[in-house]
């Protein structure tokens, strides 16, 4: 069950990474393309080191990727993983919309059933 164990660890890292408002904001900003850590550090009222630490947590969770460019560290959100999750959520939305359609039709067709409570 080594694989399960690793999966659990991965999920924990993911949740931990997304539990912080600054980190969620970094993910959002880095969706539009590469941002340097120093540019990100200018956005938040915290030290460069603190931002660097946030980026490290996000990278460990697989939410962003880092690459070095000269002295800069460039951060970008892993768009592939976000897109995949979005496509799946789209499917799920369609499923629930369909359920809500039946739900409404049922309420309209059987208004008296609710009086049993």
């Amino acid at each position: 069950m080594v694989v399960d164990y690793l999966d659990d660890q991965r999920v924990d890292r993911l949740f931990h990474a997304l539990a912080d408002a600054t980190r969620r904001d970094i993910v959002r900003r880095a969706l539009s393309g590469e941002h340097s850590v120093s540019a990100l550090a200018g956005v938040y009222p915290m030290s460069f080191a603190a931002v660097q630490k946030h980026v490290a947590v996000l990278a460990a969770a697989g939410l962003v990727t880092k690459r070095a460019s000269g002295r800069e560290q460039l951060v970008s959100t892993d768009v592939q993983s976000i897109r995949r999750a979005t496509a799946l959520l789209d499917e799920f939305e369609a499923l629930w919309r369909e359920r809500m359609d039946r739900f409404a039709a049922l309420l309209d067709s059987a208004p008296n059933r609710g009086d049993q409570t």
Binding site: V11, I82, L89, M100, P111
Partner: protein, 160 residues
Amino acid sequence: MTVTYVHKDAQARTLTITSEFSAPIEHVWQLWQDPRLLERWWGPPTYPATFVDHELRVGSVVNYFMTGPGGDQPRAWWRVLDVEEPHLLRFDSGFSDEDGQPSTTMPFMTNRVTLSEQPGGVTRMAIETTFSSDGDMEKILSMGMEEGMMAAQSQIDALL
């Protein structure tokens, strides 16, 4: 239109869908509480759900199966976490193994249903579903749910 608001957060793997119904809150609650009514909307026409055990009480396990066009009967469960009739229902949901027990290897999700009374005899229902991981979303969608999705595609198109 029934559905008034949809919010998808890919990062948090959460879908929130809000609907409004011109019906008293007790009637809306009844569609969750009464298994015979629940069966009429939970599964699509081609994959109807049959609820075997169903009691909305904290800690209780709801068991149901779906029946596909080929006679296949995937089983699934809810575990009730919170009940505040007629305002709140929170439950985990997932698939069952062949013995009808909650599968220990299959993924699950957490659902939070909130009902509130709005002016003009309208009841608002918000359903928030959270997947524990990307992998879980994929597994859940590829198992059992997508059959209904495909069968219901024309209805969905009509809705949108």
